[in-house]
Chain length 650, copies 2
C-alpha cells in the first residue's frame, strides 16, 4: 500500500521507453521533461537527478512547472560516457499551506488554527535543518504561534517565498515518488558539431603521372583547413581486391592498370588492418594522423565490412561467409544484378563470436593508431545486435569515439542504427528539394523524439550521390545546398573537390559522377576561378562564430508566403545566439515574399520589439519589426540570407 | 551474441510502455501494430501472440505489413479479464529466395545453383512438417533439383504463394525476435457501449406530499426503458449527514425539513453500506435491482468517499481523518471556501491498510447486493495508488465490473485515473462548443494513444453542470448536445428529467440548476409537450441499430467550409457499418456548407463511387458523389444529420 501520491509519466528524453541512451554531448544543456502531478489540489515539487550507473549518490536540479502539468529541469554534464537520470516528485505541504493561508488572510477568515498548522509543518522539518536554518525556522514557527500579534503580522514572514525555499530545502519529501531510470550517453563536442571534407587520397597527386599518397594528402591539409573543415574523411585505405576487380565507370571487368574500388577490400596485400601499398606505409599513415592534428583536423576512416574474393579472411575463415550448394561462396546480389567482386559477411555464421570479435578488432586496430572517428559503410546490411554490442563495447572503452552511420535506406532502419549506438547518421538531405519536403523532414528530425538519439549529418553530395538537382541546377543549386547543409544541421560534410569545383556530369542513367573516383584515379586543378572555395570558407566561418549552428536544439520553422522560400531558425539555449535562415529554393529565378515569423523562437519577447537581422552571407543589416518582413533573394547574387538575430533592448 | 536480426519497436497499444493494460472489450477487434524490420533486404514475417498471464502457450495471428515498416495484426477475445500479448518477427528465408529467384528467372539469369538454394531451404523445414506437408515439400524440392527440365518449369510451383505459405507454416523461425509483453484487459460490452440515465430517487414520487422511494423508481423504469437507456444511475442512496447539513440552493444552513445533499454521506442511521431510510429498506433496494434487470436496465450506484461529520467512521476511525492542531477534524476546504458538512478521508493516514480495506469493503458490499456498475465521485481527490490497488483487486475478482470516473479536473489527472484502472471517464464534452475545440478534443481522445486506456462518457448535463450554452441556447442547443453526446462517444448519459424537460434556469452566479435536486426534493411532470423524450428515443434507437456508434474506433474528422458546421464519422471495423454526422453548432440560425469528405474513412473506395447517405434523424436519403457535397441544417427543424453511409456496389 503505497502512499506515493505523485505520478510521473511521459518522461523525455526517453529512447524506446529508456531501453537505449539518449544522446547528449559534453557541455550541452540536457533538458528533461515529464508530466508530474498528484491527486487533489496540493502543490508539488519535482527534481531531476543524475549519476553514473553504479554510483550510489544522485546529483539533482530542481524542475519547474510549464503548462498542463508538464515540468522541466536542466543540467549539464562535463564528462564523457554513460549516465542515468530519474525524476522525483513530492507533495509540497508547506507551499500548499502558504497558498491556502494567503487566500484565507486575503478573505479575512484565517484563524489561529490555520496559523498553527503552518507552525506544525515547520516543526516537521526542524530535525533535518542545519543549525543556521533551524534558528530561522524556530523564529518563524514562534512568530506563527504568537497570538499577541494579528494574523497578517504573524503570517507575513512565514508566507514569503524565501520561507518556502527554506522549508523546502529541509523537507523530508515524505512519500516522494521516483521515476524509472533513463540512460544518457555523453559524447564529445565533435559528435554534436563537425564539418567534414571527404577526398580520395589516390587523387591528390600533383603529378598526373602517378597516383596520390598519404604524403600528398598531408600537402593538401592546409587547403582543407583554410576552407574551415575539422574532419578529413578518407574512403577505405586498404588493399583493393584483384579478383573480379571493377573497371572505370563501374565496368564489370577492369582493364590492365585500373585501380579498382576502395570498397572492394582485401587482397594478397592484406585486409581491413592493412593500408594499400600505393598510398604508403603505416608510418606514412601515422604521419598523416599527426599532420591532421597540426592542422586542426581530425582523420576519419571509412570502415566497410565486406571482402573482395582475395581478402585474407575468405581463405582463413570461409565459415564467416555463406556457402552455396555448389560449395562456392555467395557473392553480393541485388537480383538480378550480381556483384562478384564483393563477398558479404554472414552474420548468421556458426562462428558469430569469431566474426564479431574480428570486426571489432578492425576498429581496435585503427583506434590504436590514433583514429577516433569512423564513417561506417552500409551498416544496415549487417545485423543490428552486432552493432549494438560492438559500438557499446567500443564506446565504453573509448567514450571519445564517433561513429557515422552511412545508411541510405528506410527511415525506421536508419533510426534503429542511431538508436542502438551510432553517434551520427547520414540523412535524405541530398534529395529534399521542395519546401514541404524540407519542412516535413526537419520537423521529424528536430521536433519529435527522433532528436533524442538521431544526430543528422547532411551531405549535398558523396561519391555515390550526384542528385539531378546538382546535375542541372548550376551554381545556384550548389550554393543553396551548401547553405542548407551547413545551417540546418550542426554536422555536415561535402565530398571534394567534386563539390567546390561543381562537378555535375553524371554517368548516363545513374545519379552518380561520370568518371567516378571510385573506379579511377583523378587529378584536380583546385585553383579554378569558378571554385566555391571562398563561399565554403565563409559559410564555415559563420558556423564557427554562431553557437546556434553548432547544435540541433531550438529549431523552428517560419511561415513565408512563397513556396520557393524556406525559412527556419536555430537558437542556442545557453547563449541565446539565434540564426534565422531564408533560402530561395529556386536555383535560377529571383523570389520574394513576406515572412510570418515565430517571434518567440527568435527570442523576441514583444510583438513590437524591433530587432536587427544581420546577413552574414550578403553582409547587409536590416531592422525588422514584428512577424511580417519582406525578403527578396536572387540566386545569381546569393540564394540565401543567414541572419544573426539581435533583439534591440526591450 | 544474439542472432536476432529482426527489431520490434513502437508497439501499440502500449499504455506507459506496457506498465498498464490497454482496455478492450469482449468481442471487440483488437488492433496491434508495431514497427518490424530487419537489416539488409530479406523479407520478414511477423505475428501477434496472446495468452492469459501465467499461461505457457500463446495463440497467434499473422501480422501484415502496412507502409514504412509498420505491421498490423488483429484478434478478438471472448473472455473477460487480463491478457497479455507480444509480437514476434523472423526472417522469411524461403520468401526472400522466392522473390529473388523470380527476378533472376525474369532476367534469364537463374542458375542450377539458385534453384538448389531453394531446395536446401525446403529441406530445412522438412523435419518439422506433418506427413501430408512433407510429401508436398519433398515433391517441390525434387522438382527444383530436376536438371532435366528448364528453370522456369522447375521453379513454377516452388515460387507460388501457396508454396510460400506451406514452407512458412513449417518454418522453425530461426533467430526469431519476441517483443516485450504488453498487458490487456477485456471488459464486458457495456464498458464500451452504454447509455446512462441519472435520476434522484427522492424526486420520483407521484405524490407531491412525500419524497420518492425505491418503489417509485421501480414505477419509473418503463419510462427510462422506453427512452432507450440501459444504465440507470442513482446519486448516493445512503443516510445523509444531519450535522452542518446544507440547505436549499446550497444555503450554508439547512432549514427544518431540508433533506440535505446525498453526497454528505453518513449519519446515525449508517454510512456507506446503508440505505437512506426514506428511500426504503435493503429489501426494497434488492427489488429495484431485480426490476431494473426486468426492464433491460442495469443499476449504477454513486460511490463518494467522503463523510458527513456524523458518519459512523468519524467516531469509529478518527485516525482516517486529518486532525488540526486544536484536535478538531479537518473539514473540506477550497480556500477561502469552507465545506464544514464534509470531512475528507486522509490517504496519508497511519492506518492506510484499515482505510483502504474499508473503502474496498464498500464496493464489496454493493457488489454482493448485485451492483456491477459504479460511478465514482471525484476520484481525483483520493490517492492514485489507492485506486490502482482497489480497482485492480475488484476487477480481478469480478471482471464484469464497470467504474466510471467522475473527475472534471486537469487533463493529465483525468487520464491518470483511466490509466490506473477506471473503465470509463467523464469528459470536458459539456463545455466544448466551438468547432475547433471539438475537433481538437476528439482528435486527442480518439486519434492518440489516449484511446488505448481512456473511454470517454459524454454528458451534456449533470446535477452539477448546467452550461451557459444550455442556459441560453434553447431547444436547438439541447438537441445538438444530445446528438453530439450520443454519436461522438459510444458511452453517454443524461441527467433527467432535467435534460428532457430542458431545464435551463441557473442559480445566479453558478453554472448549476436553480432549485437543484442536490439540495431539495423535486416533483416532475414528465408529460409536458416540449419534452425531448421522442428525440431521445430516436437517437438511442439509431445508436442501437448502428454498430459504428457502439464503439470508439474508426473515428474521422471531415472538412466542411463553415465554422458552424462540424462533421465526423465513425466506422465499425468488424461490420463496416459507417455513420457520418454533420452538426450545426449554431443553436439558432440555419447554416449551410460544402463537405470535403475523407472518403477512405467512410469506406468509399473510389472518388467517383456514388454512395447513399440516409439521415436517420430527418429521414431523407441523398445520393452523393465524391468529396464535395452540399449540407444545410436549420436548428429549428433539426440541428444535425446522422447519416448511415451506404456505398453503391463498386
Amino acid at each position: 500500500m503505497s502512499n506515493r501520491r505523485v505520478s510521473i509519466r511521459a518522461v523525455s528524453p526517453s529512447v524506446d521507453g529508456g531501453r537505449y541512451p539518449a544522446k547528449t554531448s559534453r557541455g550541452e544543456t540536457i533538458v528533461v521533461e515529464a508530466d508530474v502531478f498528484a491527486d487533489s489540489h496540493d502543490l508539488i515539487r519535482a527534481a531531476v537527478c543524475w549519476r553514473r550507473p553504479g554510483q550510489r549518490r544522485w546529483t539533482e536540479a530542481p524542475m519547474r512547472p510549464l503548462l498542463n502539468d508538464r515540468w522541466r529541469g536542466e543540467f549539464v554534464l562535463d564528462d564523457l560516457g554513460r549516465y542515468e537520470f530519474r525524476i522525483t516528485g513530492w507533495i509540497d505541504r508547506f507551499g500548499s499551506w502558504q497558498r491556502d493561508t494567503r487566500k484565507k488572510l486575503d478573505a479575512g477568515v484565517a484563524t489561529d488554527v490555520d496559523l498553527a498548522i503552518g507552525a506544525e509543518l515547520i516543526d516537521d522539518v526542524l530535525g533535518r535543518a542545519t543549525t543556521e536554518d533551524a534558528d530561522l525556522l524556530r523564529a518563524l514557527r514562534d512568530q506563527l504561534l504568537d497570538t499577541s500579534a494579528d494574523a497578517d503580522q504573524r503570517a507575513s514572514a512565514p508566507l514569503s517565498p524565501e520561507t518556502g525555499e527554506l522549508v523546502a530545502r529541509n523537507d523530508e519529501r515524505r512519500f516522494a515518488t521516483a521515476s524509472d531510470r533513463y540512460p544518457l550517453r555523453v559524447d564529445r563536442e565533435r559528435a554534436r558539431f563537425s564539418t567534414w571534407y571527404e577526398l580520395f587520397p589516390r587523387s591528390t597527386s600533383p603529378d598526373p603521372a602517378r597516383s596520390g599518397t598519404f604524403d600528398d594528402v598531408i600537402d593538401r591539409l592546409p587547403y582543407v583547413q583554410a576552407l574551415g573543415f575539422d574532419v578529413l574523411y578518407l574512403p577505405p585505405i586498404h588493399p583493393i581486391g584483384k579478383v573480379h576487380r571493377k573497371g572505370r565507370n563501374n565496368a564489370v571487368a577492369a582493364e590492365a592498370g585500373d585501380p579498382g574500388s576502395p570498397w572492394a577490400i582485401g587482397s594478397d596485400e592484406g585486409g581491413h588492418d592493412a593500408v594499400h601499398p600505393e598510398l604508403g606505409t603505416m608510418d606514412d599513415f601515422r604521419r598523416l594522423v599527426a599532420a591532421c592534428d597540426d592542422h586542426g583536423l581530425e582523420l576519419a576512416l571509412d570502415i566497410a565490412f565486406q571482402c573482395a574474393p582475395d581478402h585474407p579472411w575468405v581463405r582463413e575463415h570461409p565459415e564467416w561467409f555463406k556457402k552455396r550448394p555448389d560449395g562456392s561462396i555467395q557473392y553480393a546480389e541485388n537480383p538480378p544484378k550480381k556483384y562478384q567482386d564483393i563477398y558479404p559477411l554472414d552474420f548468421e555464421t556458426e562462428d558469430a563470436e569469431g566474426l564479431w570479435n574480428a570486426l571489432k578488432g578492425v576498429f581496435d586496430h585503427w583506434i590504436a593508431e590514433g583514429v577516433r572517428i569512423f564513417r561506417v559503410d552500409n551498416p544496415h546490411t549487417k545485423a543490428f545486435p552486432f552493432w549494438e554490442w560492438c559500438l557499446n563495447a567500443l564506446l565504453d572503452e573509448h567514450p571519445d569515439l564517433i561513429f557515422l552511420s552511412e545508411s541510405f535506406t528506410r527511415p525506421k532502419v536508419m533510426q534503429e542504427l542511431a538508436r542502438i549506438g551510432f553517434n551520427q547518421s547520414y540523412t535524405y538531405f541530398a534529395w529534399k528539394n521542395a519546401k514541404w519536403e524540407l519542412e516535413q523532414y526537419y520537423a521529424e528530425l528536430f521536433l519529435t523524439e527522433v532528436r533524442d538519439y538521431f544526430r543528422p549529418n547532411s551531405w549535398p553530395n558523396t561519391p555515390d550521390i550526384l542528385t539531378e538537382f546538382l546535375q542541372h541546377g548550376g551554381r545556384g543549386a550548389f550554393v543553396q545546398k551548401l547553405v542548407l547543409a551547413a545551417t540546418l544541421t550542426a554536422n555536415y560534410g561535402i565530398y571534394g573537390p567534386a563539390f567546390e569545383l561543381m562537378l555535375h556530369e553524371a554517368r548516363p542513367g545513374a545519379e552518380e559522377y561520370l568518371d567516378n573516383e571510385k573506379y579511377e584515379v583523378r587529378h584536380w586543378d583546385l585553383d579554378q576561378p569558378h571554385s566555391l572555395a571562398e563561399m565554403i570558407r565563409l559559410v564555415n566561418r559563420v558556423r564557427n562564430e554562431n553557437p546556434a549552428l553548432q547544435q540541433d536544439r531550438g529549431f523552428a520553422l517560419h511561415a513565408i508566403d512563397n513556396e520557393q522560400l524556406f525559412a527556419y531558425s536555430k537558437r542556442d539555449p545557453q547563449s541565446g545566439n539565434t540564426v534565422l535562415v531564408v533560402v530561395n529554393l529556386d536555383p535560377q529565378w529571383k523570389q520574394a515574399g513576406t515572412t510570418w515569423l515565430d517571434l518567440g523562437a527568435l527570442g523576441i519577447e514583444r510583438d513590437d520589439q524591433p530587432f536587427t537581422v544581420h546577413d552574414r552571407i550578403g553582409g547587409a543589416r536590416y531592422t525588422w519589426h514584428g512577424r511580417s518582413n519582406y525578403v527578396e533573394l536572387d540566386p545569381n547574387v546569393s540564394p540565401a540570407h543567414v541572419f544573426v538575430v539581435e533583439p534591440h533592448p526591450a
